[in-house]
Symmetry: C2
Subunit: 366 residues, 2 copies
């Protein structure tokens, strides 16, 4: 084994797994062989030890406090990513006689609807697939069913760079939301949601932990006979410790929550995220050389997607940006172009560096 | 955030998550903010990046080389632990018309059989529950079905401290094995197995990764219509990257495999594990003060379970051992007594320290 060379850290625009706060990484690094003086690594202690029980309780409280969760919401730390939630949600809430509404705003919501159809009837309440998911459906387009078990939305669409900036009105039907790529990036009105889920690897921590926030009354819908690991009731009753969870991932989530709290909480995160996104969107709008993929009203604060006049220029842009320590800007193949992912931990200075780079690139190639 | 105090590392007998090689922890620590000079942490890079592709390919090759896997075996890095495999195995291989044999040797094999019964017919080919799972069933006790899809065994029983030191003879029926608490601790005859699975948190790495080794012909049994994440064919086709895996966990597994290889591979691991276990079992057998839980022929090389003359003495032993930097020795509540888990990374010096402690404890209290 060789020792890493110590070059500087770069600006990392990866869509996920994504940049984490340097303070969190340094804290984890300082105690990786010896957690808080106990003589063992966080990776080496039982999930039922006192040391880990404190960590998972603090991680839960961190999410609770930041989102201001009412008591009737449970916080779970599961495995399998959002993709396994695509299946667990309908397994727990749907049946042959109980349907759900799905609003399609991109690749991930389509995948969620596909798994739901294996379990019960699915009503596609609206889709934005015309125009390659550039927009979020308007309220008057939604064909909602008042009897639905839930309305499923993807609150931020990582690939296309769109975001529900305000939840759809769903009456008495709870929203079930995949918030993988925006969770804890801003304050939300949690009461509208029956369940919120998200892979941790964008705003919360490393990959391999799925955070699920579930309103207690949703558990009444769960049928008997589900496989144990796929039953939300089991996970709630066992406080995420039915079996061994991803202990290291939960430890990092705890540290990330502390970091957000120390910065001023979700209101401050939202202000910073809005300011970062505005810098980039203003740069895009200032010239015809750059064209945003998403419609203005649907623009994401987390993933900024844009095109250049030609694919050759886009390739050149990504290559030169990487050389300038601005990494991970190549867009997803289903959209093309460039994508700047600027999650909570992405620093404003990195956005400013990208804006400067964009101006210089246009000057040379525009 | 505070900085950890730097006390010494202790001897950690935890049953899992368990001790890791200090060299692996120090390597991960040295590059936690900057992986191999790329300017990003292992936790911050895309699972589709070149840097991570190299890591997952090397982790797979590490397991392949150590186990000497033939080409017709696939290696997967999944999530959800052995507990989710309890469900995935029958979902993929059982049906209303195709049964499986389960041999019950402890808590975990009972749980595996319980999930299988949700899917199809299960034949309990033998159980060692009489006498609280002190032994492994003998070949002549097994009521095997020649038509079974597979025979399920738990190769090492963490809670009870027993181990299949030689696989049962199953004819043409493949063995499906939960090897969570012994995988990579010794060489095995892989050809007897249709599938081997294990949570990583004992011999392989941190919790949150499940290693699945699957023989190609087993995939023919998989029915259509399974939920995508639960379908082994999807995971094989996508080489564990259908969605974002636990990238950090896979990185540690890669380092652990390198560490085992550098030590001399599985033959050397087995020699060391046998020698460590012998030290402890000899100490137990040298006196009536200590009584092993498992029958001699069934004794595990990984988890050594033993009792003292009274529960009060057992409590006192665990407490004084912890004070002497010998941690995690309290037995599982379903067996009681003490348990010393001495996986690959547990050092021989720690076993020697425990043996000395045992002698001294008996001298004072015997």
């Amino acid at each position: 084994m060789t020792t890493a060379t110590t070059t500087e850290r770069i600006y990392n625009f990866s869509a996920g797994p994504a940049v984490l706060p340097l303070q969190v990484l340094e804290k984890a690094q300082s105690e990786l062989t010896n957690l808080n003086g106990i003589g063992m690594s966080i990776m080496e202690i039982s999930h039922r030890s006192k040391a880990f029980e404190e960590i998972i309780a603090r991680a839960e409280k961190g999410i609770r406090d930041l989102l201001n969760l009412p008591e009737n919401y449970h916080v779970l730390f599961l495995q399998g990513g959002a993709s396994l939630q695509f299946s667990m949600v309908p397994m727990n809430f749907l049946s042959k006689d109980r349907s759900a509404d799905y609003i399609l705003t991109g690749t991930w919501s389509k995948k969620a609807a596909k798994e739901a159809k294996r379990v019960g009837p699915v009503n596609i309440a609206a889709t934005a697939e015309d125009g390659n998911f550039k927009r979020i459906p308007r309220q008057e387009e939604l064909k909602l069913d008042e009897q639905a078990a839930y309305v499923h939305i993807t609150t931020n669409n990582t690939i296309h760079g769109t975001q529900w900036r305000k939840e759809p009105e769903t009456g008495n039907v709870p929203i079930v939301a995949d918030s993988s790529s925006e969770i804890l990036s801003r304050a939300i009105d949690v009461q509208k949601y029956g369940l919120i889920y998200g892979g941790a690897q964008k705003n919360l921590g490393p990959s391999g932990v799925t955070v699920v926030i579930i309103r207690d009354d949703m558990l009444k819908l769960v049928p008997d006979g589900l496989h144990t690991m796929l039953d939300y009731r089991v996970q709630v009753e066992n406080k995420s410790l039915y079996n061994t969870p991803n202990t290291f991932g939960i430890y990092i989530i705890d540290l990330v929550c502390q970091w957000i709290r120390d910065k001023g909480g979700l209101a401050q995160m939202e202000r910073e995220n809005e300011a970062k996104a505005k810098l980039l969107y203003d740069a895009i709008d200032a010239t015809d050389f750059y064209q945003g993929h998403a419609e203005r009203e649907a623009r994401s604060l987390m993933n900024v997607t844009f095109r250049l006049p030609s694919e050759d220029l886009e390739k050149q842009f990504a290559k030169e940006a990487t050389a300038a320590q601005l990494d991970g800007l190549k867009g997803h193949r289903s959209v093309g172009g460039l994508r700047a992912s600027i999650y909570n931990a992405f620093p404003r200075e990195g956005v400013e560096a990208l804006v400067s780079f964009m101006k210089e690139f246009e000057r040379k190639n525009g």
